[in-house]
């Protein structure tokens, strides 16, 4: 497995894992206070921050484990661009949803969370696309 394919796996799994941790924290507090009153900002920032730090550590570890495979070539770049292009649709969907929510004056809680969900889905879809491209094939022609 190439370095970039491992990287795609890491990003996808971390996106799911960090979002799951965020949901557990926020929904756990929602048992005692209304959901929109739950302090979501700190758990959101902590889970995003932890995800970034874990991602950096894992990338360093896989680079150290097989330094020969750490290079990125034309195929890696094409698959990366394709994955980001596919994943970007969810960022746009999240932004449009947030725009509409702001227009109808929904609580900040929902606006922040729909944007976060858009980022997570974008990362997951992008990673799945990259892994499929590595496993099943990718034809630039």
């Amino acid at each position: 497995m190439s370095f970039e394919e491992k990287s795609a796996w890491i990003m996808g799994v971390l996106a799911v894992g960090s979002y799951a941790a965020y949901l557990v924290i926020v929904l756990g507090q929602a048992a005692v206070i209304p959901l929109t009153s739950v302090p979501y900002a700190a758990p959101m920032l902590w889970t995003i921050g932890a995800s970034i730090v874990i991602s950096i550590v894992l990338h360093i570890l896989i680079r150290m484990a097989s330094p020969r495979n750490a290079g990125k070539d034309q195929r890696d770049r094409e698959i990366y661009r394709f994955g980001e292009y596919v994943g970007q649709s969810f960022v746009i969907a999240g932004a449009v949803a947030a725009l509409i929510m702001a227009m109808v004056s929904l609580d900040y809680f929902w606006i922040a969370n729909v944007i976060y969900l858009g980022f997570v889905l974008s990362a997951v879809l992008g990673s799945i696309t990259k892994v499929i491209a590595y496993r099943r094939g990718f034809q630039a022609w």
Binding site: S2, N69, D73, Q74, D76, R136, G137, F138, A140
Partner: protein, 76 residues
């Protein structure tokens, strides 16, 4: 994604070139071994420039490495 109709003879040509390994071919054209494996198995179509580099590394013409249905005189 639509599979490519392009096939190739890289594997056979590597063996005819003193059993050149995938890693040696990868080093010769500056890509990873995984990319050579993907090209050999038809899971990745290289750019035209990379295709020429592969042909040059194997010391054959582009037509000897890559084939497209219709190459043998059939109408496309």
């Amino acid at each position: 994604m639509k599979p490519t109709k392009v096939t190739n003879s890289i594997r056979a040509l590597r063996f005819s070139r003193e059993e050149m390994t995938q890693a040696q071919l990868a080093d010769a054209i500056g890509v990873t071994r995984q990319t050579i494996i993907a090209i050999e198995q038809g899971r990745y179509s290289p750019s035209l420039e990379m295709a020429f580099q592969i042909a040059r590394a194997l010391d054959v013409s582009l037509d000897d490495v890559f084939h497209y249905p219709g190459n043998e005189g059939e109408a496309l």
